[in-house]
C-alpha cells in the first residue's frame, strides 16, 4: 500500500529530524547536566570528572548516534539527574498528560457538539449569534489566563473546588476527576471554540445539501435530520481537528500542568530543560513528537478509510 | 543563440505526431493525446471539436509547451518549439497566444484591465509611457472596447464578454502569428458568443492570424472555422473543410456527434442509423482498446476495427479520415 508507505516514511524522517535538532539545540545551551548533577558547591575538577563519567565530553555527533542506536532498541538512557531510566519516568508521566488532554477534549466536545447543532439548526439566529460571539471571546483568552481566572473564581472566591496537585485514578475516580476538573476546563474552554466553529460550518454546509432536503421531504423532523443525517457526514472534519489539536494542545498542557502542578510530561520537559537533563529532554521531545505524528498519521489513515478520494490525491502527488 | 531548423512547409503551425500522457501513479498513465498531426496556415481557422475529456485542451497546451509533449514536434513558422531551450522558448512563446474559456479566471483580478493589456508591452521592453498608452487604447478599440470607459476598471467590474475582449486584446498585443481559442466562448451567453465569434473572424483577417479554435460546440465551430478536426480519445478521427465535414461526415463518430446536435436535413439520408450503444461508455481512457479507439461504441464495427488502428488518410482532396470503413458518400 503506497499511501501507507509514503506516510510511514514521512513519519520516520520527521522523528529523526526532530530528535537531531533537539539534540543539537540542547547541546548549545550554556551549563550542562554535569554541573547540575555536581550540585552548587562542587569544584571545577569534580564537574570535569563527572562530565567525563557521564560521557558528556564526547563530540555531539557521537553522542547523538549512541542515543539513536539505543532508542532504536527501546533504550532511552538514564536521566542524568535522577539516574532513573528515562523510559520509566516517561511511562509514569505520560498517562497524566494523556488523561488531561483526553479529559479536556471530551469536555470541549461536550460543549462544542450541542452548541454547534443548536447554531446550525438556525444559522444567523439569536442563539447562533450569541454562541458565536461567546466562542470568539473565549478563543481570545489564553489558557494560562483562563487557568488563573478559574482559580480566582472557583477556588478563591467561591471555594468550590480544590486547586491542588494531581490525584491519580488509584485514589478514586471522584478525586481524580475533581483534581482534573479545573486544568481540563482551562484547556477545554479555549479548545471548544475551534471544534464548534468547524462543526458549525460543516453542519450548515451539509444541511444545505440535496440529501438533507430529501430527508426533510420524507417528513423527518429537523432534530432527526440533524442527528441521523447531518451529524455523521459533518464529523469528518471535526475528527481531523480533534486529532490535530491533540498535538497542538501539548504546548497548552505544559503551561496548565505548571499552574496546576500536574506531574505530566509537559512539566517533566520544562524541569528537564531547566536542569539540562539531555536524555530526559530527548525522551520527552521524542514522545511528544511521536504523539503528534502518530495522531496525525492515525487521522490521515482514518480519513483515507472513510473517504477514498484522499488516497488517490496523495498518490497523484 | 542557437538556431532552430526551419521546416519548409510554409504553414504557420505544424504539429507532427504529438503525444501527451500523464502519469497518475502506480505505473499507470493516461494517454491524453496520441500521434496527432496537422497544419494551420495564415488567415485560416482550424476548428477542433470533440466531447469533453478527449484531449483537446491537452493538445492546445502541448502546442504551447505547457507542458511539452512526450514526443512529436511543434513547428511555428518553421521553428521547432520542442527543440528549444527554456530561454529561447520563453521569447518565442509570445508568437502563439491563447484565449481561455473562463473570462473571470483569465485576467488577474487585482489588476486594472488597461494594465493587463499593457503587460506584453512591458515584456517587450516598451519603456515610453505615452506609446504604451496609445497602443493599449488602439488595441482596445480594435477589440471593440471603449478605452475611456474600461481602461481603469477591474475584471470583476466587467461582463464575461468584455473580459474575453480584454483577453483577446492582451493576446494580440504580442503581435502573435497564431491564436489558440480554448473553449473561448462556451462560458458566454449565446448573443455574446456571436459578438465574440465575429470579433475573432475580424481579427483573423486584420492581424493575419492562424487560429486553432477548440470547442465542444459544433455550431460554434462551424461558424468560425475554415477546416474542422474531430477528436476522439486523443486522436483525430476526421479532418475536413467545414462545409465538407458538416454536409458529408465520413467517420462514424463525426456522424454520431452531428446527429446529436443537428436536425437531419430534409431530403438527406438519416444519419441516425448509426446507433450509439450504451455499453462501455464509461470505459476509462487509461485502458484504451486496441484497434480503432471508437470501435467499442461503433455500430458499424467489424473484426478489423478491433485488431488494427486505422491511420488518418486522405480520402478526398483535403478530407482526411481515420476509419477502416468510412461512411461513404454513395
Amino acid at each position: 500500500m503506497k499511501f501507507l508507505k509514503h506516510k510511514l516514511l514521512q513519519f520516520f524522517l520527521t522523528i529523526l529530524f526532530v530528535s537531531a535538532i533537539t539534540f543539537a539545540m540542547v547541546d548549545l545551551l550554556p551549563g550542562d547536566a554535569a554541573i547540575v548533577f555536581a550540585g552548587p558547591e562542587a569544584s571545577v575538577e569534580t564537574v570535569v570528572a563527572i562530565r567525563h563519567e557521564m560521557g558528556l565530553d564526547a563530540p555531539v555527533i557521537v553522542r547523538y548516534f549512541c542515543w539513536i542506536k539505543g532508542a532504536a532498541r527501546g533504550d532511552f538512557g538514564f536521566s542524568l539527574i535522577t539516574r532513573e531510566p528515562v523510559w520509566d519516568t516517561l511511562v509514569e508521566r505520560l498517562p497524566v498528560t494523556l488523561e488531561l488532554l483526553l479529559f479536556a477534549q471530551m469536555m470541549a466536545l461536550t460543549l462544542a457538539i450541542p452548541a454547534a447543532m443548536i447554531c446550525a439548526s438556525r444559522p444567523g439566529g439569536t442563539i447562533d449569534r450569541i454562541l458565536t460571539t461567546v466562542g470568539f471571546a473565549s478563543l481570545s483568552i489564553p489558557s494560562f489566563v483562563m487557568a488563573i481566572l478559574l482559580v480566582f473564581f472557583f477556588v478563591l472566591q467561591l471555594q468550590w473546588l480544590p486547586a491542588t496537585s494531581f490525584e491519580p485514578l488509584s485514589n478514586g475516580l471522584a478525586a481524580n476527576i475533581r483534581s482534573l476538573l479545573l486544568p481540563g476546563l482551562s484547556i477545554a474552554l479555549v479548545e471548544w471554540v475551534i471544534l464548534f466553529q468547524v462543526l458549525r460550518s460543516d453542519l450548515i454546509t451539509t444541511l444545505g445539501e440535496d440529501f438533507i432536503l430529501m430527508a426533510r421531504s420524507k417528513g423527518l423532523s429537523s432534530t432527526q435530520v440533524l442527528f441521523r443525517h447531518a451529524l455523521r457526514p459533518s464529523s469528518l472534519n471535526l475528527l481531523t481537528v480533534v486529532g490535530l489539536q491533540m498535538g497542538n494542545l501539548i504546548g497548552g498542557a505544559l503551561v496548565v500542568e505548571t499552574i496546576f502542578a500536574l506531574p505530566g510530561i509537559g512539566r517533566l520537559l520544562l524541569t528537564a530543560i531547566y536542569t539540562r537533563d539531555i536524555f530526559m529532554i530527548q525522551g520527552c521531545v521524542l514522545w511528544i513528537t511521536l504523539g503528534y505524528v502518530v495522531v496525525n498519521l492515525f487521522v490521515d489513515l482514518l480519513y483515507a478509510a472513510l473517504d477514498p478520494r484522499i488516497r488517490v490525491e496523495v498518490s497523484i502527488e | 543563440m542557437k538556431t532552430y531548423q526551419s521546416s519548409k512547409t510554409g504553414a504557420v503551425l505544424e504539429v507532427r505526431d504529438i503525444q501527451v500522457s500523464f502519469n497518475i501513479g502506480r505505473k499507470q498513465t493516461i494517454h491524453a493525446v496520441s500521434e496527432v498531426s496537422f497544419k494551420i496556415n495564415r488567415e485560416e481557422t482550424l476548428g477542433l471539436v470533440g466531447e469533453s475529456g478527449c484531449g483537446k485542451s491537452s493538445l492546445a497546451r502541448a502546442i504551447m509547451q505547457l507542458p511539452p509533449p512526450i514526443s512529436g514536434q511543434v513547428f511555428v513558422d518553421g521553428y521547432d518549439l520542442s527543440a528549444m531551450d527554456a530561454m529561447a522558448l520563453r521569447g518565442f512563446r509570445s508568437r502563439i497566444q491563447m484565449v481561455f474559456q473562463d473570462p473571470a479566471s483569465s485576467l488577474n483580478p487585482g489588476r486594472r484591465v488597461g494594465r493587463s493589456i499593457a503587460e506584453p508591452l512591458r515584456i517587450q521592453g516598451v519603456k515610453d509611457k505615452t506609446e504604451r498608452i496609445s497602443r493599449v487604447r488602439s488595441m482596445m478599440a480594435a477589440v471593440g472596447l471603449d478605452p475611456e470607459q474600461y481602461e481603469d476598471l477591474f475584471p470583476s467590474q466587467l461582463s464575461g464578454g468584455q473580459c474575453q475582449r480584454v483577453s483577446i486584446a492582451r493576446a494580440l498585443m504580442t503581435r502573435p502569428d497564431m491564436l489558440i481559442c480554448d473553449e473561448s466562448v462556451s462560458a458566454l451567453d449565446v448573443s455574446v458568443q456571436a459578438q465574440i465569434l465575429n470579433l475573432l473572424n475580424q481579427i483573423k483577417v486584420d492581424f493575419g492570424l492562424a487560429m486553432l479554435f477548440i470547442s465542444h460546440d459544433l455550431a460554434v465551430v462551424k461558424r468560425v472555422s475554415d477546416r474542422v478536426a474531430v477528436m476522439y480519445k486523443g486522436t483525430i478521427c476526421e479532418l475536413a473543410p467545414v462545409q465538407e465535414l458538416y454536409s458529408r461526415p465520413t467517420h462514424p463518430y463525426t456522424v454520431v456527434l452531428l446527429n446529436a446536435v443537428l436536425q437531419p436535413l430534409p431530403g438527406k439520408r438519416r444519419l441516425a442509423d448509426i446507433k450509439v450503444p450504451n455499453r462501455n461508455e464509461l470505459s476509462s481512457s487509461t485502458a484504451s482498446p486496441c484497434g480503432c479507439r471508437f470501435h467499442p461504441r461503433c455500430s458499424l464495427m467489424k473484426r478489423l476495427c478491433a485488431e488494427q488502428a486505422p491511420r488518418l488518410s486522405e480520402i478526398e482532396n483535403g478530407h482526411f479520415v481515420a476509419c477502416h470503413f468510412p461512411y461513404s458518400k454513395t
Partner: protein, 288 residues
Amino acid sequence: MKQVKTFPLLTFWIPLIWLLLVIFCAITAGWMPIPPPDIMDYEHQNALPGTVITFLDQNATGSMLNYKSRVSWLGTDPMGRDMLSRIIIGSRVSLAVGVIAPLVGLVIGGSLGMIAGYYRGFAETVITGLMDVILAFPSLVLLLAVGFYLGTNLWTLIPSLGVLTVPAFCRVSRAATLQLSNREFVTAAKMIGNSNTAILAREILPNVAVPLCVYGLIIMALMIVVEGVLSFLGLSVPPPTPSWGGMIAAGREVLSEAPHVCLVPATILFLTVLSLNVLGDTLRRQTS
C-alpha cells in the same frame, strides 16, 4: 459580481479603534503624563485602581508642603509601580512581537508557500516536509534553547517566534498559490513571455498577499498570546521593561488579596487579542 463592502460597527470599527488606541499609546508613551513604569513606591504596594497616591516631590526640599499627590488610575503592582504606565509601556513589547514576528513568518512562509505551490514537484515535497518538522517540533524547546543560548530579549525572541509562524503562513500561501496557478491568467502571463520569477512576483504575489495579510492578523493575536505565555514563564523580555504576560504572572502571586494586579493586564491582553481575532475574521469574510 460586485460585492457591497460594509464595515459593521461592532465587528470592525470598535476593534479597529481599540487597536489604534493601543498602537497610539505604545508610540506616544514617552510623551504621556504618566509616572515612569519602574519607579517603586514601597508605601503603596498593591494599591487599588483610583487610589490617590501622595509622594514626595523629588525636586523640592524641606517642608511638608512639598508632598504632591496623583491618582493611580489602574492601581499599583506588588512593587508599588503604577499599573497604567506599565500597561502602556508593556504594550510596546506585545506590539513589537505581535507585528514583527508574523512579518518574519509572512515573508519566509509566504515565499516558501508560493514556491511550493507554483513549482510543485521536488520543491513542494521538501518544503512541506520541512514544515511538517517545524510543526511537529515542541515549540517551547526551541524558544527556551534560543532564549538561553542568545539571551532572552526582544531581538532573539522575535526571530524564533517568527520561525514558528512560518508553517502556518506557508500553508495558506501554498493553498492560495495552488489555486491561482490553475487560473488561466497565469498561463496567459507565461505565454506573453514572463519568466517564472516574474509570474510569481507580478501575478501570484499580489493575489496571495491579501489573504496572507488577513491571516497575519490572526497570527498576530496568537503571537501576542505566546509572548504572554513566555513572559508568564519568565522567558520573555528582561526587566525593567514591563510586559503584559509578566504583569499577569506577578499578579497571580497576589490574586487573593489584590486581584486587580492580575486581572487588569489580563483584560487588556484579552481585549487586544479579541480585537485582532474579530478584525481578522471580518476582513477574511470581506475578502473571500
